[in-house]
Symmetry: C2
Subunit: 462 residues, 2 copies
Amino acid sequence: VNRNAAFIKEARAFLSESQVLTDPQECSNFGSDWSRLSGAPFAVALPESTAQVAALLKLCSELKIAVVPSGGRTGLVGGAVAGKDSLVLSLARMHFIHKINTAASTVRVQAGATTQAVHEQCEPHGLIWPIELASKGSCQIGGNLATNAGGLRVIRYGMARKWVNGLQIVTAAGNIIELNRQIEKNNTGYDLIQLVVGSEGTLAVITEATLRLTTKPQASTVFFFGVDSIEQIVALLSLARSRRFPLLAFEFFSRACLRSVEKELNRASRLNVDSAFYVIVEMECALTPELELWTESLVSSKIITDGLIAHSSDERKQVWSLREGITESLSHRGGIRKYDLSLPLITIQNTILEIENRIKILKVRADVFWFGHLGDGSPHLNIVQIKESTREDFDADCDRFETDLFKILLESGGSISAEHGVGLLKKDWITYSRTPEERAWFRAIKNAFDPLGILNPGKIID
Amino acid sequence: VNRNAAFIKEARAFLSESQVLTDPQECSNFGSDWSRLSGAPFAVALPESTAQVAALLKLCSELKIAVVPSGGRTGLVGGAVAGKDSLVLSLARMHFIHKINTAASTVRVQAGATTQAVHEQCEPHGLIWPIELASKGSCQIGGNLATNAGGLRVIRYGMARKWVNGLQIVTAAGNIIELNRQIEKNNTGYDLIQLVVGSEGTLAVITEATLRLTTKPQASTVFFFGVDSIEQIVALLSLARSRRFPLLAFEFFSRACLRSVEKELNRASRLNVDSAFYVIVEMECALTPELELWTESLVSSKIITDGLIAHSSDERKQVWSLREGITESLSHRGGIRKYDLSLPLITIQNTILEIENRIKILKVRADVFWFGHLGDGSPHLNIVQIKESTREDFDADCDRFETDLFKILLESGGSISAEHGVGLLKKDWITYSRTPEERAWFRAIKNAFDPLGILNPGKIID
C-alpha cells in the first residue's frame, strides 16, 4: 500500500493529473477485458510517449510494482486483467500513425493505434495490414502483436506475427530497444521480435511497430454452402484449394449458430436445404462461369447439400453477417464458456464428435455452438447455459467438462488455444499443450527479460 | 582425442559403418561450406532417423563433444564450418517428403530434403513453398530454416520463417520435441519455433518440419529497366508498388555486374542505353496494354533510361539469367569478399554512396559489385581482387575497410546481415547490429537450450 502511494506520488512528478487514474470505477474498467474475469488495479497510467513508458517502468522496477500492459482490452482469456496491487499501463494515448512508406510497403505506428485506424490509413494506397478482427474498432496494434492475433484471414495471410518488420520495446528495467529499426531483414542471431510477439505482455512493453503491408486483393468471390458433416467440410476445403486460387477465408458454423444469428438478425439465410453445418468460402478471384459450374458439381457430387454465390456487394454482406453475428447473438443467454481449439485437420472430424459425446455423457446442461476458422483447423466451441439450469450448475458442469476436453485435445495432437492465448483463464491447462522442456524454456526466457517478475505476472505460466 | 575415439566406438554400436565417417578428406568436405573458411571435424555422423539423431546427441552430451548440425553447406558465413574436435551431424540421409496435405496446404518433410525436391513435390498441386534460392539444388530444408533463408521472393513472401507451421527438434540433451505437431495455430506461450528458426544450429537440431504452402501465382510479368541512380530505383519501387499488383521480385545490379555476367554468358543484354544500374521487376499479373504504357511513361518521365518487357518464356529466362549469373561470374577472379547488407530504404542512396566513397578513400585495391534484393533494402556488396593487387594486399585492404563499413551500417540504422546470418565470419561484428541487452538475452536463451554449450559452439556469439 505504501509502495502504491509512493508510485502515485512519483509518477505524478512527470505525468499530468489526467495521466494517472486512481478512481476505483476507472481502475476497474481498465483492469478488465472481454473475459469473464475482472480486475481492480490500484492505478492506471496513460503515458503519451515512449520516454514516459520507460520512466514508468524504471519506477515500477524500483518499487517492484506489477505492471499490466494494456491495449483495447478485447482479449478473451484475462491477459489484460489486473490484480489489486498492480498498475495498468495503458498505451491508449500513444496512437500516432506515421505516413505510409510506399517504397517499403510498411507503416510505423504507435502501439495504441486501433487496428481499424491502421486499416483506414492503408485504404487509399490500395494496401492492407491483413489482420481482420471483429473487435478491430477497439483493439490496438500493441495488443494484436502482444497476443499474435488471428482472425478471419489467417488462411490467406497467417497470424499477426507475419506482418511486423520492426518493434520498439521498453524492457522491464525501463530501457528502450529498437528491434530491427526500419529494416526488413536482419539475420543476426535469435529473432527477438518473434519472441515478444505473442508473449502477452510478459517480456516487454511494445510501444511502436513497423507493420508490413500487402496489396489489397484485386477481386474475390464469396460462396455460401450447406454441408452435412465435418468430414465433408474438410473434403470441401481440399476441393476449394484445388481451384488454385488463394482462399481468403474458409469459415464454418453449426445449424445451432445459424438459428441463433437468424433470430438475432430477424432474417433467414437464403439457403433452402437445412444442413448440419454451413461454410463461407471466399476465394481470391473474379467470379467465372467455371466457378458456377463447380458449385453445381459440388451439389451433384453430394459434397454440399446446397450452395449459393453472393453476386452483389449486398449479398456478400448478408452472407458474412451470418458469420459475424454469431458471437453477439450468443451473448444474451446467460453463462457462456468459450473454447478456442486448434486441431489437426486430419483428425478434426473424430475429435469434434468425441467432444460432443463427452458433453452428452457428462450431462452438461448447455447448448453447444461450433463455429470459426475451420480452414485453419481452429474451431471455436461455445457452451451456453440453458434456461433449465442455474448459473452454479452450469459452471460446475463446465468445470467438469474442461478437464476432459483438454485431455481429448492432448490426445488428438491439438492445442488449448489457437488464437486467444493463455492469459489467466488457460494457465492451468498449458501442460496440455506444452511439454516440461518447453515450460522450462519459457521460465528461462521470462527470467532473462524480466528478472524481477514485474511484467504481467501470473500470465501464461507461474 | 580419447573422447573422440570413445565417441566413434559408441556411435558405431548403433550406426552402420557407412554412417560414421572418419576419412580426413570426407571430414574436411563435410566440415566446410561456401564461405572462405574450411573445417576439419574428427568425424561425420549420418543418422537415418530422428531416434538416431537423439541417440547421437545424448552421446555427445555425455562426452561433451561439440556438434555442428549440417545441411547442404551452402552458407556463406561459416555457420556449418566444423572445428577439429567437433562432430558434423549431417541430416543428408533424412530426406523423406510426405504426401502433400491438400486440405491444410502443408507438407511434412525431413530436414535433409533439398529445397528443390520440395518444390518438385509441390508443383503438380499448383502449390509452392515460396523460398527461391540459387542454391536450391543443394541446400536443405533444415538449413533453410536454421538460417531463416531469404532469396529472390522475399518482397512477396517474406523469409523462410513465415512458411513453417511445425518443427520436430532434438535438444542438446537428446530429447525429441514436437513444436506444434500438425496444427497451424498454437497461441500458448512464447513461439519456440520462431526462436529455433534462424538460430544457426545453436539451440537445437531440426529433424522434421511441417511447411506451409501457398498457391502458385496465376500470371506474372517481367520488366527489365536501366536506371541511373539508387534514388531513381527507390522511386521506381514506389511506382511499381502503386500499380497495386503484388511484386514477386525487385532485384537490381550495377553496370559492373552486367558487364561481368555478359562476358560470362557471352551475350549482351537487350537494353540499348548504358545505365549505372539495372532493375528486374516481376509483377504478379498478366501483361496488359496499361503496363506497356506505364513502361513508356517511366522513360518519358526519366525515372528509367531504358526498359523492356519480357514477352516470351525465353525472354523472361534471358532477363533473369543476367541476375542469376552474377555470383558465378565473379567467382573466377581471385579474392572476393561478400557483404550482405540490410538498409532502410529511406537512406539507402546516401549509405551506398558513403560506402563507395570509403572504398575510394581507403584505396581498397578491388572492383566493386552491387546487386541483390533492393526491394527489401538488402543489397549484396561484393569486393573482388584486381590483377594489380596480391591476395595479401587485398585481404589487408578488406580488413581495413570492414570496420568502417560496419560503422556506416550502424549509423544508418542498417544491419551487418540481411540474410546470410552470422556464423563465424560475422561474429566479431554482431555488436554493430545488436545491443548489449539483446546479446545478454541471446546468451540466456542459448544457456537454457544448451547448458553444456555443445551445439554449434562459437557461432553467432561466444
